[in-house]
Structure formats: structure tokens, C-alpha cells
């Protein structure tokens, strides 16, 4: 029963939340940022920043946390083995776990606080908003970059894909 919850349900939740997190990350980077640049030209940008962005950010940041917690649940007793690279078996998932942790840090420490300033949820002067925009943008792009190896190592850490990639 323990394995059913930890490895079965835990993995299921990890993947569901992960899809929402990374899906919204790709939405921001591949859709919303270019769309906002276009919308700024015809004055329709406030519609996105007022009605779409706050909702997307809500699911984005909480999905990030749920994904990480579910991942930690799956690792269970092997959490330290993975993060400290103590056993070769856990090297691939350890790299994936570190990348995911860096991404979670970016979401909660860099992206969300700066997005609050950009969207007017927190008071900020224009120069502060400009600085926040750049930091949030680069943190989001960094996460997009990190997501590529992160997904690779998550997938390559077990099953036939691991055998194919690492022997």
C-alpha cells in the first residue's frame, strides 16, 4: 500500500503537476511574451496582463511546488542519495532533481515576486518595474533552458529509456 501511494499515486501527481508547470512555462515563453509584444502595438496588452497572466501565474507557481513535493515523495528514503549523488543508480535522477529544484527556486524567488511588481500586485516605481521585467524574463528563459535537460534526465532515469541512454 505504501508503494502504491508513494510510487504510483506520487508519480501520477508528479507528472500531472509537471505537465501543468512546464506547459504554462512554455505558454509564457512561446506564446504570451511574443503576444504581449504584438498586443502592446494595438493597445490590447492590458487584457492579457489583467485577465490571463495572473491566472496562469497562479497555476504555474503552485504546480511547480506540487511537482517538486511529489518528486520528493517518490524519492522518499533515496532523497539524499539522489541529491548528494551517493549511489550511481541515482545519478541521472539526481541531476534531474537538482535542475527541477533550481527551477522551483527561480519560480518562487525570482519570477513570482518580480511578476507581482510588473502586474501591479505590489507597489513599484517605473524603474523598479523595468528591472523586475528583465529579471522575471531572464529567470523564465533560464527555466525554459533548464527544462530541456531536466525532462531528459527525468525520463532517462528509469525503464527502457535509461537502458538505452546509459546502458
Amino acid at each position: 500500500m505504501g508503494d502504491f501511494i508513494q510510487l504510483g499515486i506520487g508519480r501520477w501527481i508528479h507528472i500531472l503537476a509537471g505537465i501543468m508547470w512546464i506547459g504554462l512555462l512554455y505558454y509564457f515563453n512561446f506564446v504570451q511574451v511574443p503576444a504581449l509584444a504584438e498586443a502592446a502595438k494595438d493597445g490590447t496588452a492590458p487584457g492579457i496582463t489583467k485577465h490571463v497572466a495572473p491566472r496562469a501565474l497562479f497555476y504555474f507557481r503552485w504546480a511547480a511546488l506540487v511537482t517538486w513535493l511529489a518528486g520528493a515523495t517518490i524519492l522518499g528514503a533515496h532523497f539524499v542519495d539522489a541529491f548528494l549523488f551517493q549511489k550511481p543508480t541515482y545519478y541521472p535522477i539526481g541531476v534531474g532533481a537538482w535542475l527541477g529544484t533550481l527551477m522551483l527556486f527561480n519560480v518562487w524567488v525570482l519570477i513570482w515576486p518580480n511578476q507581482q511588481k510588473i502586474l501591479g500586485l505590489k507597489p513599484a516605481t517605473d524603474p523598479e518595474k523595468a528591472k523586475a521585467r528583465r529579471i522575471a524574463f531572464l529567470a523564465s528563459r533560464t527555466n525554459t533552458m533548464l527544462s530541456i535537460p531536466m525532462v531528459f534526465f527525468m525520463v532517462a532515469s528509469g525503464g527502457v529509456f535509461r537502458t538505452a541512454m546509459f546502458g
Binding site: 515563453n29 512561446f30 549523488f85 550511481p88 545519478y91 541521472p92 541531476v95 531572464l138 528563459r141 533560464t142 525554459t144 533552458m145 533548464l146 527544462s147 530541456i148 535537460p149 531528459f152 534526465f153 532517462a156 541512454m165 546509459f166 546502458g167
Partner: protein, 92 residues
């Protein structure tokens, strides 16, 4: 020659020198910090300096690959290849 001109923004005479087709003395008239004797490995360093100098001379700056979506994706793929090889090496 054209590729080096376009890709690195090098002066023609410097390109000839980098390609080993020019006398070192011919560089005197160029405002480039180049060692008198340039082994092949240093030719690459010179190319880098050349590119940087060209960018600065035109008021430009080195671009951040994360500013473009393609740059971000390519950086992610390169990082994946690096990490994959590190882990593979550690496992064997």
C-alpha cells in the same frame, strides 16, 4: 575569407594573418592587440578579440542567447549534451 569577415567582423589583412597567409609585420598598421608569434591555438583567441573589438567599435554588445527563443532552446540542448556526457562518464 568572406565567412571570417562576416562571422567575426575581421579586417581583411587580419583574416589573411589568421589563416597564416600574411606576414606578422603587416599587422603593425592594425589596431589589434596581437602577439608577435601566433601559434594556431592563439589564432582562435585573436578571432574572438577581433569579433569583440568589432562589436564594440560599432557600439554593439555581446548578445545574451536567452533573449531569443532559439538561443534558449539551443542552449538547453547543448546543456543536455554536456550533462548527459558527464553522467555517462560518471556511470562507467
Amino acid at each position: 575569407l568572406k565567412f571570417l569577415n562576416v562571422a567575426f567582423g575581421c579586417d581583411d589583412r587580419l583574416v589573411h594573418y589568421i589563416l597564416g597567409e600574411h606576414e606578422v609585420g603587416a599587422l603593425n598598421s592594425l589596431d589589434v592587440d596581437t602577439p608577435a608569434l601566433l601559434p594556431s591555438a592563439l589564432r582562435l583567441v585573436t578571432l574572438g578579440r577581433c569579433r569583440k573589438k568589432n562589436l564594440y567599435a560599432h557600439g554593439g554588445e555581446m548578445k545574451n542567447p536567452l533573449d531569443s527563443l532559439w538561443g534558449t532552446v539551443i542552449s538547453g540542448v547543448v546543456l543536455t549534451l554536456i550533462l548527459y556526457n558527464v553522467v555517462k562518464f560518471a556511470l562507467h
